[in-house]
């Protein structure tokens, strides 16, 4: 069995011909490791997860899942591979017509023939792992944003997937929830042996739990990769600017525009 679970090989992608989201991206995700994909908003991180999940086909290049070339037109293959992955969406994507318990039970009911008593036990164990066993009977409208994220995490790991993908797992969380979520992700990877992929712009939280990281920049390019220590020590201006959160550097804050004075009509 190869050490590589996912291989992104020279992938280029755009939702339409006029806008390239990912530009010749190559990445390798090792089995059982926690890998972070860092980058600012709009640099194609979430799109990359969708390509791995087979939601969109790459315009160029290939995505290989455990040695198998991903073909988005082959629905049987797609659904077979998706059963091996779990995804935590940025805002949870919980089913609002179901209770917390039913949300976590959903993949179990859909994909297994387990008896109700066993489903109950598994759901309560998963909810216990995220500290929300007591919230099982609540409706989704009754839980906070941080709780919703943890419930979604419990649902994503209900079937003990080989690959867990986390889309901005720390966005909008208070410091306690953020620390708890980060520890959960690491612990989950260590105990189940799952390969974890974290898409985030939260550098410090990711560096505290990941084994390896890629840094992406606007235009969908990978500008750096390495262990957290290597990236922290990097002298590349893009890496330094992003990790230290500096306003000046190769990445511009302003969207391209005419000079402000010209726009305001106050040219000298």
């Amino acid at each position: 069995m190869s050490d590589t679970l996912i291989e992104i090989d020279h992938v280029t992608f755009g939702y339409d011909a006029s806008r390239t989201i990912l530009n010749d991206v190559s990445m390798t995700f090792l089995r059982g490791k926690v890998t972070a994909i860092l980058g600012g908003s709009g640099c194609g991180k979430t799109t990359l997860l969708r390509l791995i999940g087979g939601v969109y086909p790459a315009n160029q290049g290939r995505v290989v899942f455990d040695g198998e070339l991903l073909d988005t037109h082959d629905k049987d293959q797609l659904f077979r591979l998706r059963r091996r992955l779990g995804m935590l969406f940025q805002f949870g994507a919980l089913f609002t017509d179901l209770t917390v318990f039913e949300n976590v039970a959903f993949p179990l009911r859909e994909h297994t023939d387990l008896p109700e008593s066993m489903i109950r036990d598994i759901v309560l164990m998963k909810l216990n792992a995220v500290g929300l066993r007591g919230a099982a009977p609540l409706r989704i409208a009754e839980v906070s944003g941080g709780m919703a994220r943890r419930i979604a995490l419990a649902r994503a790991m209900a079937l003990d997937p080989e690959l867990m993908m986390y889309d901005e797992p720390f966005a909008g969380l208070d410091p306690i929830s953020m620390g708890v979520t980060a520890n959960l992700i690491r612990k989950l990877g260590d105990t189940t042996g799952a390969t974890s992929l974290i898409v985030s712009h939260d550098v410090q939280e990711c560096f505290s739990i990941c084994d390896y990281a890629y840094l992406m920049m606007p235009g969908g390019r990978v500008v750096a990769q390495g262990t957290p220590e290597q990236l922290n020590a990097s002298e590349l201006p893009e890496v330094r600017q992003f990790i230290r959160g500096e306003p000046d550097g190769p990445v511009r804050f302003h969207y391209p525009a005419k000079p402000l004075a010209e726009d305001l009509g106050v040219t000298a």
Partner: protein, 260 residues
């Protein structure tokens, strides 16, 4: 001139493409319906959500239509000394036309918009995407049960609309105006045919159920996942469903009742 022609061509191509897309969507609904039938509890839940919750508006409207129909028909018929035909006319008007058509229009406004908004918001909240990533086909789990729920609910609602409408007409004609009760019921029994009149009315309502539910689901599933997108989609559901029902009603009536 060339620009106008190319714009017209592009618009025609876009229209044809969306028509083809809708046709494939409809075929998908048909393809996934047998699987949804095997999980009948999902369909029952939708019959409850779509049908049961539309009951109040359907019954209230049926009763009001029955009242007004009896009153208007009585004034018209009594002039020609034909007040005894009131029961028959009210019955035929309701079971052949008003029952299926008005129920269809109300269904589009009450259940159709609700379906479109529900699916659209599921899409906006990434619930549909989450389901796909869980290797669960939303067409099978979400759309097909709703499609069947709509098709089952619609004829039941139409029958209830007609039944309550006839009762409403009875209240106005017999209890308030004083038309003979025996005459009111017996002429219906003698002249209304179960298959030709009631059966065709029910068949119409099944067709309208297919149109309404298909349009509502398609609009919800293909909507742009934004508040504006969902708002436009619900509006389009009502407009397209209503026009579809009225157009199909004319076609079906011409086919079903071409002989006296």
């Amino acid at each position: 001139m060339t620009d106008a022609l190319s714009n017209l061509g592009a618009a025609t191509l876009r229209w044809l493409r969306s028509l083809g897309h809708a046709a494939f969507f409809f075929l998908d609904l048909l393809r996934f319906s047998p699987a949804a039938l095997r999980r009948f509890s999902l369909v029952v839940a939708q019959v409850h959500a779509i049908g049961n919750l539309s009951l109040v508006i359907i019954l209230a409207s049926g009763l009001a239509v029955g009242f007004v129909l009896a009153l208007q028909m009585y004034y018209a018929l009594v002039t020609y000394g034909a007040a005894e035909s009131l029961g028959l006319i009210v019955n035929l008007a309701l079971v052949r036309e008003l029952g299926p058509v008005v129920t269809g229009l109300l269904f589009a406004g009450r259940a159709g918009t609700s379906l479109t908004a529900e699916i659209g918001l599921m899409k906006a909240g990434e619930q549909i995407a989450a389901m796909e990533m869980m290797a669960i086909d939303p067409r099978s789990r979400v759309l097909a049960p709703r499609f069947l729920g709509g098709i089952v609910s619609m004829p039941i609602l139409a029958v209830l609309f007609s039944a309550i409408g006839i009762l409403g007409a009875y209240v106005v004609a017999v209890l308030m105006i004083g038309v003979d009760a025996g005459n009111f019921w017996s002429i219906m029994e003698a002249r209304v045919d179960v298959w030709r009149d009631v059966g065709n009315g029910i068949f119409k309502s099944v067709v309208f159920g297919v149109i309404c539910t298909f349009v509502a689901l398609y609009q919800g599933y293909e909507t742009e996942a934004t508040p504006e997108g969902v708002a436009y989609a619900t509006t389009r559901t009502v407009v397209i469903s209503s026009l579809g029902i009225l157009a199909m009603d004319f076609v079906l009536t011409a086919l079903m009742f071409s002989t006296p």
